[in-house]
């Protein structure tokens, strides 16, 4: 009737759209994974039982339901392969995120302080690696790091080492690959926060007796924490589940959870255990997410 109602409709749709997306592409698939995680392995197609078949009627469905069990989750706890992979994933993700922060923060800070016209160029330089496929870039690192690779050739030519060093298939190579790949995800949110910062705040801190270094720690850094949180989360969560980089660059000694999942799924064809591991991984990632959300909410509440 009124103009208000007409305008309200697209607005309402826009509000609902993300929920529809989440239900269709997250909640429903997650339901499948959850169901598989409660099933048993079988040499069949699909490789697990029971299989819900709506055509068999309600009684059969109920019987199938009764077969579901938490055995796979118990297995995850009893076999320390899984616990060790989880721990390794967490250790790698936390360390890599810290390294990313230490490297990314100064870069983002430097970008934010460039003259305006150079900031766009700097931004392009950060984003430009995305134009090449991620896999190709990781393979390029293999080339650089291998026994007769570029790095060893340079070190030998400069007489820094007398024999080639082992780079590939080490944790260092994996960290290098992770930091290299995720750096833009750390820099961009940090840059967004730092470039929005009001320069007069730093002048005020200076004016009130804070040296430039003090002013950084007392004003710039605390005000950039939302960016630090966003960057850390954007890196931490995908690194926990990272598969390609550890698989290609790290040694075969210890596995990250992504690799364990892959093994279970493709090599052992044990879909139920792989699904249970995936569900457990998700549950493991929920607490830091909730914590971050809480912190950000509190910060917003303080502002308004």
């Amino acid at each position: 009737m009124s103009a208000r109602r007409i305008f309200a409709r697209p607005a309402r749709f826009a509000a609902i759209a993300p929920y529809v997306w989440m239900v269709l592409f997250f909640l429903v698939p997650f339901g499948f994974v959850l169901k598989i995680s409660l099933s048993q392995t079988a040499i069949a197609q699909p490789p697990y039982t029971p299989v819900f078949d709506v055509a068999e009627g309600r009684a059969a469905l109920a019987a199938a339901f009764a077969q579901l069990s938490f055995d796979n989750f118990r297995l995850l706890l009893s076999d320390n392969l899984y616990i060790l992979s989880y721990l390794r994933s967490l250790v790698v993700a936390v360390s890599a995120t810290l390294i990313l922060l230490v490297i990314g923060y100064p870069i983002a800070y430097g970008m934010a302080r460039l003259p305006r016209r150079w900031q766009g160029v700097a931004m392009m330089l950060v984003i430009v690696p995305f134009w090449t496929s991620f896999l190709i870039r990781i393979y390029a690192w293999i080339n650089i790091l291998q026994h007769d690779g570029l790095l060893n050739q340079i070190l030998l030519a400069l007489h820094i080492v007398s024999a080639p060093l082992v780079w590939l298939s080490t944790d260092s190579a994996m960290y290098l690959g992770i930091v290299y790949s995720y750096l833009p995800f750390m820099i961009l949110p940090l840059y967004a926060t730092l470039s929005r910062m009001d320069a007069s705040l730093l002048e005020a801190a200076n004016d009130l007796g804070a040296s430039p270094l003090k002013a950084f720690w007392l004003v710039t850094f605390p005000l950039s924490l939302p960016g630090v949180g966003a960057g850390a989360l954007l890196c931490f969560i995908p690194i926990v589940g990272e598969f390609v980089i550890p698989d290609l660059l790290a040694g075969s000694g210890s596995l990250m959870i992504g690799q364990t999942l892959w093994l279970e799924f493709f090599t052992n064809k044990d879909w139920p255990v792989a699904s249970a591991a995936a569900v457990a991984l998700l549950l493991l990632l929920v607490p830091p997410l909730v914590l971050y959300d809480r912190l950000q909410r509190r910060q917003l509440a303080g502002r308004n």
Partner: protein, 366 residues
Amino acid sequence: MPLLRIEGVAKSFGNFRAVDTFSLDIRAGEFFALLGPSGCGKTTLLRMLAGFETPDEGRILLGGNDIAHVLPHERPVNMMFQNYALFPHLSVRDNIAFGLRRAGMPRAEIATRVAEMVALVRLEGMEKRKPDQLSGGQRQRVALARSLARRPQVLLLDEPLAALDKKLRESTQGELMELQRRLGMTFIIVTHDQEEAMTMAGRIGVMDAGRLVQVATPRNLYEAPATRWIAGFVGDINLFDGQVIASGHSRLTVSTAEAGTLTVSELWPPVTKNVVSVAIRPEKVKLSRRAPANGEGDAQTINRLDGVVADVNYLGGVTTYKVRLESGAILRASMANTARLDVDAYLAGQRVVAWFTADDCLVLEQ
């Protein structure tokens, strides 16, 4: 020796000379206003006093020491920023204590000083709030308290009232003056608002294109502007260009194209050029239906101009008139509405005599 001496200070940005060989003395305990249109260099000068810009030339002496190249965090000078620049992540208390902590003041003393400052700007009960939980007027007072907390030798205020609405601005002007008197501190305020400068400051320095063009008390600035430009910038004024055709008995006779022959009192210093402008403030122009009677002044010293009322603007306290003179030029006059009933008002189209005394006119060199 003045508290602050600015000596031949200049600052350029690229080819633009923002501040040009600027010299000024400011006494301890003074409320000084730097007044000028935007882009005149007043903010650059203030930023040089705070240390955010370094002068290309000249010296800035504070208590006899040259501080021109002292870093901002090492100067006994504080600034109140135009946008207040309150730290959004800190409470009112921590904002005010920020400068005290940097100075290494003991905890107990900081608490006392903060409480004192909070009381001074009447923000009791707001200590734990963050800047975003305050109104504009409250934020302004936090900024003031923060810049006063260190008891600077000089407080610099960059358009401190620009962000407030008119009513709040007027009451805050009074509070600032009261505060400055009570603390006996030296305030230097930068403003583009001449009314604000005239209300608050003891002395006003007018800047134009990076230069200081006049330093005077508000009254002298208004009644005896040094140049035509200042006369037009500060308040409203009628200007008639002409030539001096006779002088003597401290009177000048000026022949103007627009307002005929005018008799004006000569000011000190005397004009040295023949080509001058006669300036008269609108409120000093009187209107009457007939020529003023003899009792109202010596015929020699009264200028009478015949005209027709072209426009009337009722503004509440005053009414402004535009009178079209016989030459076609417009003379502006304003009269206080001293009575509620408009028995004395003139209507558009009415013939009037506009008159003013020789003493109320100014002669300005062109």
